[in-house]
Amino acid sequence: MAEQLAIGGLTKSFGGLVALDAIDLRIARGELVGLIGPNGSGKTTLLNIVSGYYAANDGQVRYEGRAILGWAPHQLARIGIGRSFQVTKVFRRLTLLENMLVSGLADWRESRAAATDRAMAILDDFKLTHLAHEPAANLSGGQAKLLEFARIMMLSPKLILLDEPFGGVHPELKSFMYDKVRAWNADNVTVILISHDMGSIFGLCRRVVTLSYGNIICDGTPEETRADKAVLEAYLGDQHAA
């Protein structure tokens, strides 16, 4: 498998707090990787650096052979890195269709008609067609998460970073979202998934990377992760692991 994302010696600190401590991580095209770890372990920081929202203190990130540290988020979006946010960032006063069009039209080569066609097809795929002309403010929390998924699709992404996409989502909707993640992955799109919901992680991902205090303490299959002593320690404390 071709390597898509290569992170080397990535370090990030906030004041005296080291959020990422010289992380090394390689991810191949088409992988579905779960990223777990206790609160404050550096998961979201890692995602924010890869998607251009944070600057790193040291290290490098290569995406499809290009060094992308220092790139702005919109530049990364345009080369196929899509992401969702822990707290959804849908445009509440814009309609669902307009929400979709933003990512389509950000590429000046795409006409409005072509972007609209594409957007409507994706909304249809997400069963949101009937809400296309409604303001996003009218959506439920779960639907807003779904809209974020749909918007990412407008980017024709090659790497998708999902930050707690299933938080507070109804089980039925959640299983629909699982299907979407699996469908992306079947299309050779790489997915990195952060979730506190271990059921989602172990159900979806074939590889799980565990962070603790800014270090990768385990990188393996779900079975290996579950059995790993360091992971248990990180989550439950020393006494339980022993």
Binding site: Y53, H74, A77, R83, K89, V90, V102, L105
Partner: protein, 313 residues
């Protein structure tokens, strides 16, 4: 959707006819003059709402930008013998450029910090123009050449109306293009917009530039109409007027904000007997609007008409 658009077009056509026909109702020169100044405020309020209502960036330097346009235009006509149109163009350009610079400098500022920075900037500009009286004549006022030499009040009325309509049309075209969508996505959520490929830095700065350029145009027109400008046109009190006009008219729509400009300027003259109390009334009106009708008077009116149209259709 088609119905809604034809409703809007019909409304805009009615308004245009109204303002075209208004002078024919036997208005005195005084009222024609007042309405012409009203168009100046309309343009200024619309340019402010372009930034605040659509991009979500606050600025209290709009009156200062208008003054900049006015002074640059007047001075370049006086000193460089530019034709008035050339002076206006230079004013627009410079206001746009400085707007772009403010946009870049304030990229990471939000809320109170952004507001305070723009106030400081506007005041610096006003005080600099007051202090540099060797060039600008300071508080004594700068005489600007006439826009239409020998023109009547009516000539100015129709010219201001035409330029205001043209500018609103231009703003509308910008706002309904993909640029308008980028603006609104930034207003809604900057990080979200960036994650979808919108160059937030560029569009935020360009929005400031665009809004300032329209303010510069307004100020230039004003200077060559009243033919005597003082730095007081850049004061925070003037800014307060513009703000009240946009808020009372409806700052989420450039047309409503513009109508607010004409309306409040007319009221300002009609209520002369109330003296300074008019400003208190406008301030209160703006506060009440923000609390009870955030879409402004014309936004509220349009909503009511639309609902009525629906229930009858």
């Amino acid at each position: 959707m088609i119905r809604r658009n034809s409703f809007k077009a019909a409304g805009a056509a009615c308004l245009l006819l109204f303002f075209l026909g208004l002078p024919l109702l036997g208005l005195t020169d005084y009222w024609i003059y007042t309405l012409t100044i009203g168009f100046y405020y309309a343009l200024l309020a619309a340019s402010w709402s372009l930034l605040v209502g659509y991009v979500g960036r606050i600025s209290f330097a709009q009156a200062a930008m208008s003054g900049l346009g006015g002074y640059v235009s007047a001075l370049s006509v006086i000193h460089f013998n530019l034709p008035v149109a050339g002076g206006l163009l230079l004013g627009i350009l410079l206001a746009g450029l400085i707007g772009f610079a403010i946009g870049l400098l304030t990229l990471r500022l939000h809320g109170a910090y952004l507001g305070l920075t723009t106030i400081a900037f506007g005041e610096i500009l006003r005080i600099a123009i007051t202090a540099e009286h060797g060039v600008t004549e300071g508080s004594r006022g700068l005489q600007a050449p006439a826009l239409i030499p020998g023109g009547t009040q009516l000539d100015y009325y129709y010219l201001f109306l035409a330029i205001t309509v043209f500018s609103l049309l231009l703003m509308w075209l910008i706002l309904r293009s993909r640029i308008g969508l980028f603006f609104q996505s930034i207003r809604e959520d900057e990080d979200g917009a960036a994650s979808l490929g919108v160059d937030v830095t560029l569009w935020k700065a360009l929005a400031f530039a665009c809004s300032s350029a329209f303010a510069g145009l307004a100020g230039g027109l004003y200077a060559h109409f009243v033919q005597l400008i003082t730095p007081s046109m850049m004061s925070l009190q003037e800014m307060g007027f513009v703000l009240a006009m946009a808020v009372v008219g409806g700052f989420h729509n450039v047309l409503y904000a513009a109508l607010g400009g004409v309306m409040l300027q007319s009221l300002l003259e009609a209520l002369r007997a109330f003296g300074e109390w008019r400003l208190v009334i406008f301030g209160l009106l703006a506060i009440l609007m923000l609390r009870f009708a955030p879409n402004g008077l014309f936004g509220m009116l349009a909503d009511t008409l639309r609902k009525k149209g629906k229930s009858h259709g």
